[in-house]
């Protein structure tokens, strides 16, 4: 889950930007610097580009809600050090879909 570091003072030069951590399901973590007022679609695209995959290969989840790409860090109330979970997007049948999604949430909650 996200651990906002409230006790950390915000640097003046970094005021318009936010440092976000994207964590994939295999433990890989990447740091991104994004404007607070810019949509997160660019960040999602850059991450998928580094992995060599298309944009719909990952489901980006922040605080349990999926990021659609049009939100900005200000809208989602993101702070420096917030973690975005990049889950492998899965699809399947109706029952299998439920099972897979539960597995994703299981991994997400760290149970």
């Amino acid at each position: 889950m996200s651990n906002p570091q409230d006790d950390k003072p915000i640097d003046q030069e970094q005021e318009a930007h936010v440092i976000l951590k994207v964590k994939s399901q295999d433990g890989d973590e990447v740091l991104f610097k994004n404007k607070k007022s810019a949509p997160l679609k660019k960040l999602m695209y850059v991450y998928c580009d580094r992995r060599g995959l298309k944009l719909d290969a990952f489901a980006f989840i922040f605080n349990g809600a999926r990021i659609g790409g049009l939100e900005t860090p200000d809208e989602l109330d993101m702070e420096d050090g917030d973690v975005i979970d990049a889950c492998r997007a899965m699809s399947g049948g109706l029952r299998a879909n439920q099972r897979q999604w539960s597995y994703m949430l299981f991994d997400h909650n760290g149970l």
Partner: protein
Amino acid sequence: MEPNVVEIATPPAASCSRIRTPTKAETPEVIDVEEYDLQNGGVPNGNNVDYKNKGKAIDFDSMSYGDYGEEDEYAVGSPGDDYGYPESSPLSNSLLDPESLIYEDDENYSEQYDFEMEAEPDNYSMYQDLFDGKDIPTGVEVSMDWFPNSADKESASSSKSSHANNGNNSSKKATKASGIHSQFSSDMETPVAQPWNALPHKAEGVIPNSAYALPQNSKAFQPPYAVHYSALKTAFSNYLQPQTPDTVLGEAPAPAAGSSGLLPPNTPGFKSNAARFKEEPPILPPDDSRVKRNMEDYLGLYLFFKRFDIVEDFSDHHYASKGTTSKQHSKDWAKRIQDEWRILEKDLPEMIFVRAYESRMDLLRAVIIGAQGTPYHDGLFFFDIFFPDTYPSTPPIVHYHSGGLRINPNLYNCGKVCLSLLGTWSGNQREKWIPNTSTMLQVLVSIQGLILNQKPYFNEPGYERSAGSAHGESTSKAYSENTFILSLKTMVYTMRRPPKYFEDFAYGHFFSCAHDVLKACNAYRNGATPGYLVKGAPDVEENSAGMSSLKFRTDVATFVETVLLKEFILLGVLGLEPEEEEKTPETIIVAESSKCTRSRSKRDRVSSS
């Protein structure tokens, strides 16, 4: 800033070279989204390409699956889909016949085939990127070492088809084993089998990604490979031919992906899911084996059914037409909804289960189990909830799945929920919705405690004054008897057509409490008053109000005999005889003739009484 950077693993050195001259404040490990040098020359990959290629995903997936273990080590940093767009048009005609052949031959694997069909949108895009990353020359045949393993998996799964759960476990283990083997073979064969590949072998960190993704996909694609190996070979060679003109054409411009571009890939997914769901009934085997097999699945999923979960498909929600997926909400609204989700996830009581929707934060669905000691005991009551834009200034909108039955003065036939907290009825200042203080959890608990209570008759405005009087109590008893009959009907409606994502819960719940319901109905038939039975002491009456009415006893007996018992038998509940001592339902195998005998003896017993 420094402690934050120190804790994180260093990204590969190659990625640092792509970043332009960093500013003083910028740390080298942090990737600036704006200054990132896109490998596609700044042109984003179009979602339209996915949409066009989805119809041919089966052949592409089957061809690229054999190379997945080998290609995956170059997934990080490999170029994007440069040639995806021009390749789609020449392939559409040549691959039409192989597709039809695959559809016809897979009749025996229809259920597993559905999984493969539904896996199209994701797998195609993933494999396409990996496949285009390599410059494989024309005519080169890549090794397909997965073929022997899939044959073993098929035989293993077929031998255990009678036990669905065990079959799933064994297939999962076999899948993981083949994944490990694939990794090993990819490491050994890379320098020898593919000399044309100039990319260096990356670090071991790439392999876990392969181990993670491969087991998920190989399970879905297992049966068609074993059957159509020669057909796949032909398709594979066909696929390699168009690469030659692509090199002449060079990089094709990909269409820009805007906000509207996001919708086309998603919309066919929902439609195709609905279509496949409709296709299931004709393919299903006879009822007995279907019910039995499904119940094993349902019981397993029922035991691990989460109290709060996030699901995807909101198409059958009552308020699905209000608002859209791409609608933008204010920051405070989204934050408040997330707080609501957090509260529900932590504090839901054990009789309430909630489902939220991934792409629609404004929708919610809840089920409330009727409490013991009420006429609604063991019933399931579903509510669809919608958060308006002005939330939390205005209360949420709640709709009840009534099925045309009014089981409570506060729950109307049309599904309206009459509650001061929701603003659908008047109340004093404390009872109404208080902005920034009232929560969705409070609404659900209020519905459970105040609406679905022991004496629902007095919920009607104006009738509460007569509580305690003889006339009021007798009218309340009659109302409770009628309410219980309607509650039984609601149970039957729920068993026949449970809402989406609650099928496992509904079937498992009624399977578990069928004996309790029948025991309670038997007590009511003997004269007990509804609303006073507790599970632990079924024969003790708390109230001395006396016997229930003759009409109620007759109605309960008739309904149980004609409808409820039949539904429970269809559900797979075994040992439906109240006189017998209760046994574990899974261990009893009852023949059809024995069921008929019991029904006949039950009918005689009813007629004698």
